[in-house]
Amino acid sequence: MKIIKYLKSLTLKELLNGMTVTGKYFFKRKFTIRYPEEKTPKSDRFRGLHALRRYENGEERCIACKLCEAVCPALAITIDSEMREDGSRRTTKYEIDLFKCIYCGFCEESCPVDSIVLTDIHEFHFEGKDKNVLDKQQLLAIGDMREKEVANARKNDAEYR
């Protein structure tokens, strides 16, 4: 019996079997996504960089109710508010610290006027030590830039909510 085992191992059968497997994999399809050129599709619920939206007439949506500030589990949002000339309550300061933010999306869920949203932007960086805090102007600018995509994503997702 032992002799047969030795003779079998001398034919290198098992080694050749292993090489057949790797040889087959050589020609198999590769599933790697070549990232910057190819991208995986993103969900409409993707939670990326924040933005503040406006109404169609250009009026900012945020009414400084501070629900997002209250709900934020990471205390990343800071809001100051004041009465504007026309008597409405508006924010004077709306800051998000991106280092603290955990991208949970609670701010968006809590917002009664759909003002603060998380866009699908996930490729961003800072070029300075103190650039991690986004102020109101920057957030509004991001919102103006991505309004179409944001509105579209909310519309597509609405029927599943």
């Binding site: 290198l12 080694l15 292993g18 790797t22 994999y25 050589f26 599933f31 790697t32 070549r34």
Partner: protein, 341 residues
């Protein structure tokens, strides 16, 4: 008279450059091919990014980027290391790896030094390569490097024996130590090549060659998982690049020797008078390339041998089989069996 000699030296130097430069480029692309082939076998893409002038070219510029990176890096000397030996070790490895190429016939008459004991010269050169490894391990003043060097030395010395015995079979079959003569003995199509009567020796030769060059699955000398990188753990920058170059040059060496001694060197596998049956340097390159692919294929397939398994395989399996088959070859030679003898 004196001018003839000077011209002779210059001509020889030119021939050396003509061998070494393409060899270095092939080594560079062998590293690329290795990463690419192993990547494909593991369901990955492998390096496909680095290109030239904005064109990606499937990552074909990768070896040059690697070379530039290695050459620009700092060479770090470990504390209390023997600086002279530390720098000499990679030079020894590389010099012996390149020197062996002097006697390799690429095609009929296309050889730098057509000496009559070419095979012995090659065995001597590849054996000397182990000094580079041992000295590197010792001069590094590091326990990992020393362990790696000891493992490597024991392994190379063991497999040298079975490799030498496998070559004895070739010597009996060809009746010569000269590599060109050995190839001439295999003229006349695939049926005349030595790998058929010497099949066990052929397999043993190539497996021993893999062990000799410290390649997977016999790479305990490097053994990333237990001794980090073995003998070259303390090397960086250009010194590390030399080790790399030497290792891959040795791989190509073993592959080309297998092609020369067992697969009929530059002869075509077909017989007859058509264009495809003509002997050509391209056949030699194709055969060498086949063995290089086997090297990469082995690395993608087999897990590393345990140290005692390596020793058992070398001493208790390969050497007995070699001795038995040498006797078989001798008998075949005496009775002029087949088209080979």
């Amino acid at each position: 008279m004196i001018w003839d000699q000077i011209w002779m030296i210059i001509w020889t130097l030119l021939k050396i450059v003509a061998i070494v430069l393409p060899l270095i480029i092939v080594v560079a692309y062998l590293t690329y091919a290795e990463r690419r082939v192993i990547g494909f076998m593991q369901g990955r893409m492998g390096p496909n990014r680095v290109g030239l002038f904005g064109f990606k070219l499937w990552g074909l510029a990768q070896p040059f980027a690697d070379t530039v990176k290695l050459l620009l890096k700092e060479i770090i000397f470990p504390a209390n290391a023997n600086k002279f030996l530390f720098l000499m070790a990679p030079v020894i490895t590389l010099a012996t790896a390149f020197a062996a190429w002097a006697v390799v016939p690429f095609s009929d008459g296309l050889v730098l030094a057509d000496i009559n004991a070419g095979l012995v010269y090659i065995l001597a050169m590849t054996s000397l390569g182990v000094y580079g490894v041992i000295i590197a391990g010792w001069a590094s003043n590091s326990k990992y490097a020393l362990l790696g060097a000891l493992r490597s030395a024991a392994q190379i010395v063991s497999y040298e024996i079975s490799m030498g015995f496998a070559l004895v079979g070739v010597l009996i079959a060809a009746g010569s130590l000269n590599l060109t003569t050995i190839v001439h003995g295999q003229a006349g199509g695939i049926g005349h090549w030595f790998f058929i009567p010497l099949l066990p020796l052929f397999v043993i030769y190539f497996i021993s060659g893999v062990a000799e060059t410290n390649r997977a699955p016999f790479d305990v000398a490097e053994g990333e998982s237990e001794i980090v990188a073995g003998f070259h753990v303390e090397y960086s920058g250009a010194a590390f690049a030399l080790f790399f170059l030497g290792e891959y040059a040795n791989m190509i060496m073993i592959s080309s020797l297998a092609a020369i001694m067992f697969l009929g060197g530059w002869y075509s596998p077909f017989s007859g008078d058509s264009w495809i049956a003509q002997p050509s340097i391209l056949w030699f390159f194709m055969k060498t390339g086949f063995f290089l692919l086997l090297y990469l294929w082995f690395r993608a397939t087999f897990p590393r041998y345990r140290y005692d398994q390596i020793m058992r395989l070398g001493w208790k399996v390969f050497i007995p089989i070699c001795i038995v088959w040498i006797m078989v070859v001798a008998v075949m030679k005496v009775y002029h069996v087949g088209p080979w003898f």
